[in-house]
Symmetry: C3
Subunit: 261 residues, 3 copies
């Protein structure tokens, strides 16, 4: 079974997402289609890049991940097909693969050759360019047969966290549906740190939400391996009025044996 996952900001109600699925089904009759999500916020390339990185590598090798969050449809932006660690990706070249590409080790990329005007809608590349390319990969066509090598994919300028000794500075890079504030600070940097987000103390890094009382702020290392701040049984984004870009910091307070002797 070859699986093709779809990730878009199309919603489902207008039939655009199903049109892509239909094209894949026709061109790759044995493919199993899995609608990962069509609920990405409109044009949110960074949000899609993070969502994709949550699941892409969990699918079996050979899976084709088709991603169409494409505010630049109709412009001259390129179309990418990629193979990263045994899985395939088809997407506009707008940075939506940033995390997948930066985390992967074995990578190959091509710029999808887009046929001339004939038959290709300049407003619906999802159906007319990306889905056919995904179907070809699902059928077993070689990546290299889809286009010419591409060496400089667009990468989103993800904010880099800073580390000066025990003092860590970063920011919120995503707010998920539960209102969890996901930062860019890697969990592996954290030891006995106390966390602050948007000017509020979130306490030490805990193992799980249940380590605080309901309604309290809690800092954990989340499922992406990044520092996250949540409210147990609540919504941290609403509570703190915090959104993408809100400052997150962590440091190790001086202990009783750290003072002058």
């Amino acid at each position: 079974v070859t699986r093709v996952t779809l990730l878009t900001d199309f919603g489902t109600e207008d039939g655009y997402a199903a049109a892509m699925a239909g094209v894949v089904a026709s061109a790759s009759p044995d493919a199993v289609i899995d609608h990962a999500s069509h609920a990405v916020a409109q044009g949110d390339v960074l949000g899609a890049a993070l969502a994709l990185s949550r699941y892409a590598g969990l699918y079996p090798e050979g899976t084709v991940h088709l991603v169409v969050v494409d505010p630049g449809v109709g412009t001259a932006r390129r179309a990418i097909a990629a193979r990263v660690d045994g899985r395939f990706y088809v997407a506009p070249d707008n940075g939506v693969l940033t995390r997948v590409l930066s985390e992967g080790t074995d990578r190959a990329l091509v710029s999808i050759a887009v046929p001339d005007d004939l038959g290709v809608s300049p407003t619906f590349h999802g159906r007319d360019v990306f889905a056919p390319a995904a179907a070809r990969l699902a059928r077993g066509d070689a990546l290299e047969s889809l286009g010419s090598p591409l060496r400089d994919p667009v990468m989103l300028p993800l904010p880099e966290p800073e580390r000066r000794g025990d003092c860590l500075k970063g920011e919120v890079i995503q707010v998920d549906r539960f209102g969890n504030l996901i930062s860019n600070i890697p969990g592996r940097w954290l030891e006995k740190h106390m966390v602050q987000v948007a000017g509020m103390d979130a306490g030490p890094v805990r193992r799980t939400y249940a380590d605080v009382a309901p309604g309290e702020l809690v800092a954990v290392v989340g499922s992406l391996g990044l520092l996250e701040v949540s409210v147990r049984d609540g919504n941290a984004a609403d509570r703190l009025g915090a959104d993408r870009g809100a400052p997150v910091s962590a440091d190790v307070p001086a202990g009783p044996d750290d003072g002058p002797r």
Copy 2:
């Protein structure tokens, strides 16, 4: 692989959509179920008809498209099974197949024989009437075995566009999730026309959104082959306060060589 797609206005959260999928899975164990959408606006038969026409024909022949947007459930309205150009359809007879039927060339329709009261919920025909019929088609039962021939399916009175010389008049028939205003004016009628929608100039027909600056109105021939008006990187419906029924017109302005000599 036989695919069965589902299109409803049920949402997913109450389990109604999954109930239909379960019935199909039980009665047609090898069928691959594809949730096209359960997010059609409640009772929006026309919206469903347009969405369906975006994807139905893109699926392989033999696919069964199950459509339940059925504000008249429990009334005497008939239930339809149809074969159009090699694909199957199961739906209430309320016009939701209007576009598929009017665009198809090879058509056969039957009125699904609904068993007597026993075991059929008068409030959930999706589960009790339509899904079983779709499963039978997916299993390979002949269309004709599902009921008696039907020759007068309900067709929605879609507004007809007018054409007087170069002067085209139509209206918005759908607003999609992106706020694109989709008119009933066929793209093939358009040449050097200038477009107006809801009293605003939308300029000439462009090839793609990117032919105007961000934030500007742009007229294109969309993926349904119809004239659409959009705002690049924006929402035309919000911008113009326009909804279904808003007037759309197009004409060819007199050129410098068209004046008196």
Copy 3:
């Protein structure tokens, strides 16, 4: 074909739901994954229990129903795997299986053995505990191999309807997406009853919505076999300002031959 259905309150946009699907796909390559819903209201265990009971038994035997609505993730709550009447269930032990367990006849339950900290995120058991267990069942592993027997699953204290002669008292236990008010009064108790909900008369129990005029209240026995109150072509919850817990009653009015003689 073994099907694995997913029911969560994760939404789809962040990639959490797809992460679970990816784990199932990798560990059980032939499984067909069906996203029943990811739109359960956040933390609504009762709503998920009712939704699940609408479709679980309609799927073929052998189906694995994976349910993750888990406000207690990270606490000491147990994880359940169950077999009920030939179908499998994997879920947190928080009552989300209440209806399935109470309606089933042939039941077996185990407490899923959760591996030690290593590799298990304390914030994403859907991916790290539940999905792997579902995949093992889909592959054919014996239920008993997943953990040790569990005899006291958490059951939600569903409100019990009362019956004194012809006088029935209950309450609204769910409001579905259409605003239908679903009560806990079994349809089989109803004969010539007149129904009241939230202090308003809803008339006799009708066969179907179409038995009243558009806009009127109508009481029917719905697809769960429970008394429901709707507004034809409208929204009963909005009309009555009624929510879960609103009182529902039914009685048989004295007829002309019931008076004193």
